[in-house]
Symmetry: C2
Subunit: 353 residues, 2 copies
Amino acid sequence: MQESMCIVANCGFPRQHIDVAVTLRDVAARAGVSARTVSNVVNGFQYVSPQMRTRVQTALDELDYRPNLLARSLRQGRTGVIALLVPEIAVPYFSELAHRVIETARPYGWTVLVDESAGESAREREALDVLTASGRVDGVLFSALGLGGTSLACLQPKAPVVLLGEHTADLRFDHVGIDNVAAARDVVAHLIAGGRRRVAAIGHDERMHSATSMLRLNGWRIALESVGLHPDSDLLGATEMFSRRAGYDAMWRLLPARPDAVFCLNDQLALGALRALREARARVPEDVAVAGFDDIDEAQYSSPPLTSLHPDTDAIAAEALRMVGERIAHNDRAPRNMIVNHALIVRESSARR
Amino acid sequence: MQESMCIVANCGFPRQHIDVAVTLRDVAARAGVSARTVSNVVNGFQYVSPQMRTRVQTALDELDYRPNLLARSLRQGRTGVIALLVPEIAVPYFSELAHRVIETARPYGWTVLVDESAGESAREREALDVLTASGRVDGVLFSALGLGGTSLACLQPKAPVVLLGEHTADLRFDHVGIDNVAAARDVVAHLIAGGRRRVAAIGHDERMHSATSMLRLNGWRIALESVGLHPDSDLLGATEMFSRRAGYDAMWRLLPARPDAVFCLNDQLALGALRALREARARVPEDVAVAGFDDIDEAQYSSPPLTSLHPDTDAIAAEALRMVGERIAHNDRAPRNMIVNHALIVRESSARR
DNA sequence: CTGTTAGCGCCTTCAC
DNA sequence: GTGAAGGCGCTAACAG
């Protein structure tokens, strides 16, 4: 790769950045036309005579004009910015989702503002409130964690909101996600098919208000009961968070119950559980099978590679952006509940014994 | 956790969001005062009589007023938004950094706009250009990958830019990062101290324009040469990217050279290398010691846990925000080059044999 | 086709 | 202490 040339004489500028901004009027004055005409050229408006266009373009280039997007947004009532509100960007699932959203938004000309809520309902409410009312963004993609269905139903945001990853049917919001119950059931059914009888689950328990957790635990229960197994409460490792650390701790607590398989509500929990099992000298998958959820990149590179449920994140990003875009255009149709595909990716951690 | 109550009668609103916005003037009309007075109350201005304040506050509450941040920004010439421009947010180091930046920015009242460049110089240039000239952000924290020193020196951004993670002294920009050469040297010295003689390196080679890679490879060379070892070219595993996959491939290519240790330029490469070694039935750390760089969360949970170089990311986030804040306030001082601490975290993957 | 004008919502200098 | 007026930079009516 060759670096582009650069005239060094222009480089030794003493100040780090240039403070003065060139406005449309500056360009208009220079070209001897009105601001309107310059605006037309900048926005590629049709009816401008060729010679006028080149004259204005010259002035634009000479002055190195850049539109002030703030002013444009204020005037147009649209910003071209979509917010993505997630509990924590450092959680691999969310950073991978954010990447997909940013990439998918690019061709639309949309910029993405990523914001964090720490999964706390107060911060979620606050962030949603400020984001939607500030005029800074045209819409919000919201991955709710702290706010349950009831609280969500009370919100009256001032811009379109699309919920990601939850599945609470009776809301006023558009929603896109996978079928969490079916997906969890698929995972657990796979573990059972591998000859496991004591399938533990690690993750949030029902006292938390995470809809996602409840749905996935339901899937676990249904899968067990459908083959006449009992979802013992001593096989449920409750955690407060979805972190590797929490998975590690929960796994240690579960060991006395002698599970022969562990279904973790997400991959980070599973990776923590893997470490605990290694320390406890339990062999994976021979003694204990492990499966996670989300299929983050890391799952492929763990030891052993982790079986996980892969949600179609590309589709989530694409559909969410499409939905929010449609609702920005016209806020009239009924809220839609969109379910995208998922697939179980079987790796070494859950091999049949 | 108890969910807050909600009057259901207010909830069945047919539209998803409310389109009309309440302005300062609406509030003023309602309170029977001028917009100026409302503004004073909203912004906590001192000289407002108590009864006036309560009257205005009532109107504010009744109408549920929210300031239009776009208009405020346009007027004040400041937005309270800082952009963070990174190659790819899904890379753990960057998502963890983004998290630190967002958290650190919060108490300042700053919002963070995360943007991606894919590490391509054209996109970096474009993004920097738009971000700084658009008026949308007050400053940019920029983690450069594609743009080398020469190209960077040519940029004339229209808002403050602070470079993260590079160390090219002669720039016009503020910069904050660790001492990459010393840090890499520390890692390799540790491997040598553990009795290793054939220390390979995995990462970008010099033909790429990544300053970071070159500096870390320099550290590798210096450490080897300082004990009379020769940095053989067949011990250098060049990669095009910093991904697990690249580390995996490079490790396989390096195996014939029979290294007894591998220094990976980042943790993702190291995790990929670990997997390759596992597949090749090489024991870590007995046969081959492995060390990474960045100390991402995942390093603690790999198998075996990964020795890594920990940069003080908290300090990077804090100092970068402080610097950009200072330069927003007054753009007059000379560019500063700030070096923050690093520490080698020794884990099982590099245990002495 | 192009110039003039008004106003998006807010803050702030100037008067009172 | 508060009201009136102007303008941040831009676009969209309305002329001409």
